[in-house]
Symmetry: C2
Subunit: 227 residues, 2 copies
């Protein structure tokens, strides 16, 4: 895999202008495509190996390009990280709000909670965001604010609507907020320590599923007693 065989030219010296023909194939992508591939690779590295896995040379190797190409597209390593944050935030937002707005066969918390857990565990999104938060990035620019706000808003609307239909008491907004917070916390926690704890407890993949269901039921029960 080492690059010894290739030694085409770069002999851009004053000499060597003779008969050297440019025989060197090069893949050329559109800028958008290249950025996408690079971000994909960075995402995988980060999810798998954590912070220390985010090295330009490694990512470049994964994509099959040279590392200056990454700098060309993102200016700096920091730029790459920012782009990764932005994209991840956007994906998460779409994923969460999409799941919530999905038809309205909703109303039952288990569904929502399942979606949240999946959205966060998908591609290691939670791991990725966790690292970004741990390193203090994604503090100012993060859309976390908006996302959380929007979601609580949607949930609260749902609950109020339901309360109207069933002519029960309107739910407390802080209660809705706390439910959202607990779910988010639990999902993040699971992404990080979940596997360890599950192993420690002798739970297999199926056990984790049971845990999620148990949690959904816990929330459902709470919703009912609040009514």
């Amino acid at each position: 895999m080492s690059s010894v065989a290739k030694k085409p030219a770069t002999a851009g010296n004053a000499l060597a202008k003779t008969a050297e023909k440019p025989v060197q194939k090069r893949v050329r992508r559109t800028a958008d495509e290249a950025r996408r591939l690079i971000l994909d690779a960075a995402e995988k590295r980060l999810a798998r190996q954590g912070p220390e896995g985010l090295r330009l040379q490694d990512i470049a190797r994964d994509v099959g390009i040279s590392h200056p190409a990454i700098l060309h597209h993102f200016e700096s390593r920091e730029g790459l990280v920012r782009a990764l944050i932005a994209r991840t935030n956007k994906q998460l937002r779409d994923s969460l709000l999409g799941a919530l707005g999905d038809g309205d066969a909703s109303r039952d918390a288990a569904d929502h909670i399942g979606h949240v857990f999946e959205a966060l565990s998908d591609k290691g999104t939670a791991r990725l965001l966790s690292w970004l938060l741990l390193t203090g990035r994604a503090t100012e620019e993060s859309d976390a604010h908006n996302i959380m706000g929007e979601i609580v808003e949607v949930l609260q609307d749902r609950r109020e609507e339901y309360a109207r239909e069933t002519e029960t008491a309107a739910p407390d907004k802080e209660d809705t907020l706390f439910i959202a917070m607990l779910t988010a916390n639990a999902a993040f926690g699971e992404a990080i320590v979940g596997r360890q704890l599950a192993e420690a407890a002798g739970l297999d993949q199926d056990g984790i599923k049971r845990f999620r269901k148990w949690f959904a039921k816990l929330i459902n029960d709470h919703l009912e007693t609040e009514r």
Copy 2:
């Protein structure tokens, strides 16, 4: 703060053997003390700045020693990290089991949960462990297994004892496990995304307290319906 003024000797050449008197003060600690100070500094850096803050030179500067001194005590950076893992695990274990075994004015979950959250947020223990878990360390050697197992055991004993006293049905052990898992997940999640989410929701410090209480009540209610 730069070290320009000091240029004592090191002139260990064959020459310069003349009248140079060893005038250089040096602080000398016991090995244990030195290790403790180094670990303390490392812990702080890690909790504050995340993974990237764990640089030998920085830690050395914090302690007021040279960085080879750290290598002298811990062999390598990796050795330092391992020692940090071990100490943190031990502290957490003691803290958690200590809180649980505390008298037995327990029985009410709110107390336990409060202790768990405090133990994990203390000194950024959760942040620290999160990073260790994110980077894939602390997988084999971690005492997480034992800790989790012991805690579930203690909790289950409590519940069974209580069931006997009140002559109610004995609780399901998996239910106890899930409660512990949820609490752990939530506490870890809060350590990482908690501040962000709280800010996003416009919660102040007091709001976070309310959240914890709300959570404790949620668990308490669940315990009661299980009975």
